[in-house]
Amino acid sequence: MIAAFVPCSAHAQPSPPDPTTLDIEQLFDVELTSTASKFSQEVTHAPASVTVVTAEQIRQHGYRTLADILGGVRGFYTTYDRNYTYVGVRGFARPGDYNTRVLLLVDGHRLNEPIYDMAPIGTDFPIDVALIERVEVIRGPGSSLYGTSAFFAVVNVLTKTGSSAPGPRVDASVGSQATRRATVSVGRVFANGNEVLVAGSGYDSAGNSRLYFPEFDAPGIGDGIAINADGDRSASMQAQAVVGRVRFSGALIDRAKRIPTASFLTVFGDGRERTEDTRAYADVAYAGPFGQKWTGVARGGIDYYGYSGAYPFDYGADGIVISNDSSHSVQLSGELTLNRRVDRHVVTLGTEVRRAMHNHQRAWDVFATQLDTENPSTVLGVYAQDEITLRPGLLFNAGLRLDHHDAFGSSLTPRAGLVLLPRRQSAIKLLYGRAFRAPNSYELYYYGTMQEYGFTLAPETIETTEVVWEEYVGAHLRAAVSVFSYEADHLISQRMLVAPGLLGGGIYFANDSSSTARGADAEIEGGWSNGLSAAAGYSYVRARDGATHAVLSNSPRHLAHVRVSSPIKPLASRLGLELRGVGERRSLDGGLVPGFVVGNATATTSLSKKLDLELGVYNVLDTGYADPGAEEHAQRAIRQDGRTARVRIIARF
């Protein structure tokens, strides 16, 4: 692959001019080398293992969704069931888990909604990735600051502002599977420093027009081919304004997906199975001083989430009947965080309240309404954290959060970390933490079995210990190594009660499983002043069921990635190459889904100062691979796309 470009990059290059010899107009016109030659992160004092993905990296590797971004983060992997995309962290990707155990924030605003707790990371994520400034991935439990769902990791997406995406711009792409996407944004900075950014996006894809599922290739069922049943479309908007110390932001997305897999025992080949998700939020946050001695953030927000699903079932003599699911929630939230430096302490105090005013789930078909339940809820949290400088180069960080949920009571989550900074360029962290995830409305109320048998649920918990070592080697290399042990208890898992005539087919949820994961991961990344950047990472984990000691399903023991991005200077272009490897995973039936390596290549070039062109080829090796299915799938593994490509143009005015 690289060989194809060597003749180009071997062209004689003029030596770069001394910038001090340029005149003032030229200075503000020359193209700057990539910031990737600087490290995306410094040795962090934060008591956690942190990875930052920058806008630069997103562009260099042609990432299309948040899932593309997260899939390249050390220890993370994604699963796509042709409906939603799910993220796995350090060996945990429980089938049927709608990303409930990763907290997703956009500019600090929580996106996991109160019904399913779902973090949308695929084409249902409301922010176009081109408008992401950086993504901070904080591994490990974050409940001591964030409360529920900050179980395996916290992902904070920071968006671009009027100053980082100034002026009008159009970003449009076309690609394989009749995929089209367009984003229009306008950013502006006013003379007084206030900023606004408004953007709108449309996305439409026919998906894979011909999908073969051997499970449905049988006499009497069909040939197993789902034709034109994979369509995906979304429309979204986002807006934000920074006025002095106050930031107003909001986003809206409606995304509809056709489902080709006949999940939940629906009729294969019917073509009407689909889900639609709508999310909207508005948030206002003040960041700045509170009185003479405190600084902090005060935030208020409102969220809407709506879902509808259509599922065609074969009712025998009554023919094929569409079963409908819908839910919606409206949630108000408020948070206050205060910081103060007192002598050798940095103290943080905070409180958060979330009130789901509407929390409604409904299921019906032409014959009857099976479910119609409204379950408002309130969560109140208070937290405190102290970072103490014990002596120069030695920090101790301790935090504690108490959450009260009106449905099941209180959870207390502590965290402690010792951060040793022996030299300027290295850090060693010893970390301990607990986190919890509260049962959500879907788990508590959706299946009639829960009420009929009086089953209740308690929060699930995790306890983790981790040692992190970060080191800068010379001027160009950075290395990070983590060794960790996770013990998750009372995990909420889906069970089936075998009894005739039960509503919902006898499915229920119980706090009845525990799991452990032990592993290590490492990454080395380099950036050089000629614009070349490279990274390689590997993670190893053994995640097992606490009772049977069997390896968990959808838990790869090995994950690896290699990334290179290099300028091709004579052509004013850049080439990004990436390989991602995922080891074999167990499917739910105990079989093995083979491991694979997928390669992606992205070439970007500047046609002029205002026009960029990008060509991305995804799964460039055309690897045949599959992700494990969940309980709702007849497929033990769901085949993923082969090679696809897209051409993208970005115009700035």
Partner: protein
């Protein structure tokens, strides 16, 4: 596989044009811009000594870059001197003050001190301009860009030339 590589190579090759300049390091361009910007600003005569002092509160790498870029240079026949501010410095004794992006805590304090004094304050954040800084240098779309708060400049008794104001993204 090979077809795809070739296609990409051809596409990239055919449609791109050779740039006038190679890409340049952000730090070098920023340092050059700092020195150049000073040529388009008039200080009140009383504020000038025989040396032109630029105080810098920034990371090690950029400070060294600026010191190297300024070495042996003259601005309007005055020798340029770059002075690094240390933590205890509360004043700069300078004509120009650069505050790096990571110095947000000291930035407020330094700006408070520089307010209404004939010091050209240059920073990197929008907050810097809001809090009374005069010039902002920042990176967007792989170019160095400029913003100027001319009101703050007038308050400081500095006159910024129209040539520089025209280069700025937004000017009051």
């Amino acid at each position: 596989m090979r077809t795809v590589c070739l296609l990409m190579a051809v596409l990239v090759g055919v449609i791109s044009r050779v740039h006038l300049y190679a890409q340049l390091d952000e730090g070098l361009v920023k340092a050059a811009a700092l020195l150049k910007v000073a040529l388009f600003v008039d200080w009140p005569a009383t504020s000038m000594n025989d040396r032109f002092v630029i105080a810098v509160a920034a990371d090690e790498e950029f400070s060294q870059t600026l010191i190297a870029a300024a070495r042996g240079r003259k601005l309007n026949n005055r020798e340029v001197m770059v002075r690094r501010l240390v933590d205890s410095d509360e004043t700069c004794g300078c004509q120009m003050l650069f505050v790096g992006v990571r110095e947000d805590v000291r930035s407020t304090m330094l700006l408070r001190w520089a307010r209404r004094k004939p010091v050209l304050t240059v920073g990197e954040t929008t907050a810097f301009l809001r809090e009374g800084g005069i010039v902002r240098l920042f990176r967007a779309d792989d170019r160095l860009r400029l913003q100027i708060n001319n009101k703050s400049a007038e308050d400081a008794g500095l006159k910024i030339s129209s040539r520089l104001l025209q280069l700025a993204d937004q000017t009051p």
